[in-house]
Symmetry: D2
Subunit: 507 residues, 4 copies
Amino acid sequence: MKQPLQYKVSLKDNASFTNNALFCVGTGRMNLALRKEYHDQLMKVQEEIHFSHIRGHGLLCDDMAVYHTYEEDGEVKTEYNFTYIDLVFDDYLSMGLKPFVELGFMPEALASGRQTIFYWKGNVTPPMDYNKWADLIKALVSHFFDRYGKEEVVTWPFEVWNEPNLPGFWKDASMDEYFRLYEVTAKALKECDARLRVGGPAICGVDDKRWLTCFLEHCSQHKVPLDFVTRHAYATDSPELIGHYEYQKLRKPEDFMEELRESRRIIDSFSEYKDMEMHITEFNTSYTPRNPIHDTNLNAAYTARLLSEMGDVCASYSYWTFGDVFEETGVAYTPFSGCFGLLANGSIPKPTYWTFAFFKHLKENAIARSEHFVLTRDNDKNICGVAWNPVEEMEDKELALTFSLDLTDGDYMIVTKMVDECTCNPLRAWTNMGTPAYLNKEQKELLLDCARPQINVKQFRVMDDAAQIEIPLSSNAVCYFEIQRIYPKADRGFRPERIRGGNIMME
Amino acid sequence: MKQPLQYKVSLKDNASFTNNALFCVGTGRMNLALRKEYHDQLMKVQEEIHFSHIRGHGLLCDDMAVYHTYEEDGEVKTEYNFTYIDLVFDDYLSMGLKPFVELGFMPEALASGRQTIFYWKGNVTPPMDYNKWADLIKALVSHFFDRYGKEEVVTWPFEVWNEPNLPGFWKDASMDEYFRLYEVTAKALKECDARLRVGGPAICGVDDKRWLTCFLEHCSQHKVPLDFVTRHAYATDSPELIGHYEYQKLRKPEDFMEELRESRRIIDSFSEYKDMEMHITEFNTSYTPRNPIHDTNLNAAYTARLLSEMGDVCASYSYWTFGDVFEETGVAYTPFSGCFGLLANGSIPKPTYWTFAFFKHLKENAIARSEHFVLTRDNDKNICGVAWNPVEEMEDKELALTFSLDLTDGDYMIVTKMVDECTCNPLRAWTNMGTPAYLNKEQKELLLDCARPQINVKQFRVMDDAAQIEIPLSSNAVCYFEIQRIYPKADRGFRPERIRGGNIMME
Amino acid sequence: MKQPLQYKVSLKDNASFTNNALFCVGTGRMNLALRKEYHDQLMKVQEEIHFSHIRGHGLLCDDMAVYHTYEEDGEVKTEYNFTYIDLVFDDYLSMGLKPFVELGFMPEALASGRQTIFYWKGNVTPPMDYNKWADLIKALVSHFFDRYGKEEVVTWPFEVWNEPNLPGFWKDASMDEYFRLYEVTAKALKECDARLRVGGPAICGVDDKRWLTCFLEHCSQHKVPLDFVTRHAYATDSPELIGHYEYQKLRKPEDFMEELRESRRIIDSFSEYKDMEMHITEFNTSYTPRNPIHDTNLNAAYTARLLSEMGDVCASYSYWTFGDVFEETGVAYTPFSGCFGLLANGSIPKPTYWTFAFFKHLKENAIARSEHFVLTRDNDKNICGVAWNPVEEMEDKELALTFSLDLTDGDYMIVTKMVDECTCNPLRAWTNMGTPAYLNKEQKELLLDCARPQINVKQFRVMDDAAQIEIPLSSNAVCYFEIQRIYPKADRGFRPERIRGGNIMME
Amino acid sequence: MKQPLQYKVSLKDNASFTNNALFCVGTGRMNLALRKEYHDQLMKVQEEIHFSHIRGHGLLCDDMAVYHTYEEDGEVKTEYNFTYIDLVFDDYLSMGLKPFVELGFMPEALASGRQTIFYWKGNVTPPMDYNKWADLIKALVSHFFDRYGKEEVVTWPFEVWNEPNLPGFWKDASMDEYFRLYEVTAKALKECDARLRVGGPAICGVDDKRWLTCFLEHCSQHKVPLDFVTRHAYATDSPELIGHYEYQKLRKPEDFMEELRESRRIIDSFSEYKDMEMHITEFNTSYTPRNPIHDTNLNAAYTARLLSEMGDVCASYSYWTFGDVFEETGVAYTPFSGCFGLLANGSIPKPTYWTFAFFKHLKENAIARSEHFVLTRDNDKNICGVAWNPVEEMEDKELALTFSLDLTDGDYMIVTKMVDECTCNPLRAWTNMGTPAYLNKEQKELLLDCARPQINVKQFRVMDDAAQIEIPLSSNAVCYFEIQRIYPKADRGFRPERIRGGNIMME
């Protein structure tokens, strides 16, 4: 049984909705951006979704080979190597992506300790010499200026470090030490060009209120440059670990949003930071790259709702991550492994990929929004919307949305693109194939075929300035729909009614 | 209501079925093969279906610029220009296609009259000098030898002219004149290399029994070289013309097949020609490029049945044509125009495209066949089949095929690919869009999205060595299905039952 | 023996030079733009040279299938088909080319006579009904508005007909009839949108002064809309025909330019047309597509000089044509056939291709110009120039240009790209191969290898603010050269003087 | 002054020459094969040179993520992950390359110690458990069988470890330990399939006679499977280190060859190993990836000589390496860095790239060979050769080779492709550009333009059955030349003598 929901909407209505879904996307560490599989996945994402910025860890880690010392004439000297950074950033820019530059982690030769994080061993200790750190930042930016031009580089946001409020990411999670790093870095950037935009504290949701408040107080009191505030947000509770996987429950979307609103309020409580941009430089349902939820339709439907609301308080929200080339907990054993990506390895779109592809097409003017949909139109009065139905429990729960619209009389075409557990569920297809760990070419193509929305085109006629549009949503469905006025004109002698299967559908 | 049909099949069964569906495909005239749109369409067909040979008209027409005369020292001399033929044949070979060479029509400078056929004005009169015709044929073949090597060229079939039994295609439909043309041509070919294979009489279904009988008698009595017999076959009655379109009724498939069997019997009645290859160098439902049936699912389902039976008596059957770059009645006004192609212009697959794509995947051993399906298996006992349900009347008629199979115990995957009026019907989508004559990029992409089979992957377990496979067929459905033994092995900790939407389907 | 020529040039000098070389390029008739070989050649030209506009004949000829009539209810009705025009213009725009729309020739169903021109039979008679012609023009433009948007289409120039001053191109070369056609067409265009730009009379250099004067008088007296003036210009005397070829002598470049200046003076003599744009909608050395000169280095060197001067009086000069897909006198028998193209068939660049590629790189500020070179610099004081040495006589004549430049002290790099009869002469390579008529893949690749400029990079140091740059030019050489300030900085331990062959050249 | 050298050669002559130059090529470690830049470089190499096999280090290193342990039920268990190996090997096979599988280095979890080699830290200690090592080998091969098929995998050679005779590559350079590793590995392979081919000892030229002798004695005495012998060979003396670079002198080619002949003799001294294949699984001039010699024309000319002789005693000789994606001593600071590759980063061919490209085209029958050239012909009597002139000293030394050939009377074409310090020397061009560390797009294209052979095509006529072919060689030139009989036939009216610059050259 479907739960019916009725909405009366006028094209003249206004609804609050800010679509920042495509401002930024997350990525595995910079060194992985040298990979062919990574490039192929990102290219596909850009061709179909086209994000504006990209952010990831590890720009200054040793596998990027940036920072080196050598002895000459009895002195230790520094030399920089930007070969790999160039390869990565050239590739990003060639795909229409600007870097949202995360400055970190610490090159071994500059580090004050040996503590590392992740399978790939990023050093998370403060610099042993803050002057040399500042020199590195200035050399880096100066290189960017040379290669990409000052006017381009001043449009890139710079963020200082990642989640310093966790001791795993920043030695002892020391607040003072972070504030020092932030200050030195921000000032080094401003020395290069005052227009460069810098932000922090890049915290996750642990002790976050205190961190944010103290950080802003510190910046305010010490006149430390700050152009935007950054934090992270995830929507799951603590995990249960089984083998290579971690299982979690989702938080209520309302709770997830409240966490962000709280941050917003803290920022706005400082007169000089009121209305300052808040960037969510990482978000997703689960924060572990081993939770199968990332590969599900549930994830797509839940994320759709988040995308419809986060723009209320955030300047951007960077989905963590675009693809599954990722090594934080090691290398996945299977093509679907619960990793963060919009694409599984082999460039297979997961359902959430389509959530973003659908939000991309939303128009400038919102006319209605609820917890189940957002409806927009453009200046030509074409209407398009996205609707969703997240169902975490195992039991199915169907919805039937009906929109009463004040369309002017005439002929219309409606296109629907449906992604749900039956029609576009590559995880299930792969499971049904017996979860093969190593896909051959045929299996990969079959999964690609199982990862496409179901498209439908219908025609209808409006009389008396009113239309009823029905959108049925099975469990975890995400549906994109688009309504356009058309002016049908048949070719001379073309008679649809005489053609088997070619007749116009008036359902 | 679905009509249920039950079939009990054993993997050890043998059924008669010869799959020659991919031996040859038809094309618009040779000059069109210089076009980019033509190349793009053919490339797509080859990537997904991959025919072995291609045959079309107009190799020697003046728009191929082959035959020229000039005066020198008071004498008329001949010169040949193979520039365009090279471009066309190079392109074919680069896509894995051998030419099934149709020799015709007549260069103006060699023609005995001015009678032409089609919008593109192919001259259909006999040569004014048969020696010069023979010289032309020998120069042509000699050029092929130079460019492609003798060993390659002797694998190409050569056919003499097209439908000489119609006065439109051959002046007065003169039998004697055709026999003369055939003889001169066949001998010229054999002079080049005795291994070259030549055939005729390339007739359509008009007065065909008399033509075929006389042709074979002539060859037999005069020892004229003949390596294979060719004819055409179409499955529609006479048309009603309305504007740019012609509408027709389909013939019964049994009648269509009987026409071919009759030809077979005539050939076999000559002791020296018994079992000689018969090539259907053109076939389709309708013979007019303005019948919308070509764009329908009905065409796909009807053709599927023909493909399952024609191999019983024919060495090949060349679907007329692979694409819609075609000008016999002029240039189409709309992307769907009732033209012959497997692809509409813009490279949009019509339903019949999938019929061929499905037949491509059938395996070497047939285990069952009926008027609704063919079932095959390979040596690893993977099973695959194609099923169809043609319904010409406007009223719907559904089928439900059930196969009882003696599979050995274990886990299996079944993949189904469904093409029917609801799931894969670009003609209807285009009609619902208001039949736009000039597609923009977005419309083209939308139609491509509406022209894909619906894919499904399920898993099932066989116990007691018996499985029931059900294939439901709505009106004009064509369904491909494939059954494979699998050995599921989950990654450590992967629990489908804990993943929303990821559970294994046991339906 | 080289003739030495010395030039003293300062970076502060100004020289007159307007570079309109890339505004427009010519093409074979529109129907040929449907071809794959045509597309491939044009793509290559655009990637390396990138013209802004393209102009060619035959937009309305029957092989574009635009204009049709049919009877209905006892009435003759008209219908239009823009399918092929869309394919062509879509392709142009996708390659960054705007159409310079030439309106002609006459659809058979609208023509008043049967007179045609060329192998491809363009009808050159006036419309039998000027109202229907105006309807056609308006339907065409209205279709352009629908497909490409009004704002785009108003940036396309429209030219009425081609060379009406020749009886071959316009029945009886009737001036009155042309003025009528021009007027009807211009007004039809302005009815669509007053911003549309229209021009004529598209004449060649036969009786041209009288035609131009009368045309302008007519427009002036009858208030006929006119936005720009067009004419053609070729630089050869009358031909000697031998077999497939025509041989001619070149005119003196001064005479060629004087013809254009004369037209300029005529235009400027009308107060309302003073300084009006004059577009040379066709130019080349020879006007016949069978003169081998087009394939030579002489053509490249001679054209270089024209490109350096034509901008003095013309808003554009469209080289006739970009490639050798061309059928005015039939289909060429060999890859080099004396046809107009910058590229020979097989996409082999002829020397003149490089003349255009070199002019593309010239900078905004000219600092010196002579009959042998043009020298420019950009705002960063990088200098680049093109030099040439056309020699028509069989005897060689070498030049040695020396430039004394007031460069500031420091290190510089000079890049030279040389195209001359020895280094980049695919016609000679092909001749030496034995002039094969049908190239195989290896031969094509070899010719491509023989069709590249020879590149050289040298370093020099300037002291005392003065540099001597020497450019030696063998017969028919065209040389591009570029001088840039550099700041050499060797990697730690890199010692060129210890590396065999790696040393810096100070010649 | 050129030194003249005269050779009289008959087409009927036989010369000893075995061309195994393309059997195998070396590569940076396996993990680098995941990179896009790596793939692009290898693709280019394969398109133009097309090696058959590829060999590199690090297949089992931790960055390939193959070997893992975990605790379950109180037990330590092993699991394998072949995801990355699949990506790499799939890519190789897609480019027509078979792996020449080097088994090593040691996964950390299986290692008996912590000793590593290189910037990328390959563990070089013996397994702590030889049974687990054998299990790993068998699991690996079994996975190969599943993915690529047994018939394919048995064609891949397997080599055990790398340079165990150096303590850096194998803990303590312990011979006994290596023999144990070899034996366990060889037997594990043969258990999978007796047809799998295994070899060793993969030694370099240090204490190599003793190692080889002992290894063969050990295999012989203990009946250890051995299908081929492998060793390495480099042609330089010990280096002088300056900054990032190491400079060395070349050894005499005779000495280099003598080292290989010595190995050959040792092998042949064992009756059971007589004539056994010896594969040089690494060779180059210098063994350090920081010697600029690799980027020079000297390297190309010296290597040409080696390629002409190594086939006398070796079944293959794998140039170390195809490209410059390489990290053994860290990441290069500049595009030319003295690394091993045939291509510099940015896919810029170094001169030695052309040496291989030239050897690729040599024909089956050698007719003459000297220290300066090799001359071959095919069955159609087309002749092709490669000539070289290595000059290590800074002073120039030119050669002029003259071949007297007994060609039959007629017309011929000669193509020469010249690579020397003036015509094809990207290192010099880059030096003259000021050695920019980070190339922009324009610089990269300029260097590509400076990295092409100079091509020349001439025609000559042979009378009296004798021809003189002259090949001038400047210092470090490598020249490819090809002589073909041609049958010139001009198009009607084509008169080269009337075309400026189009005349046939008879020099």
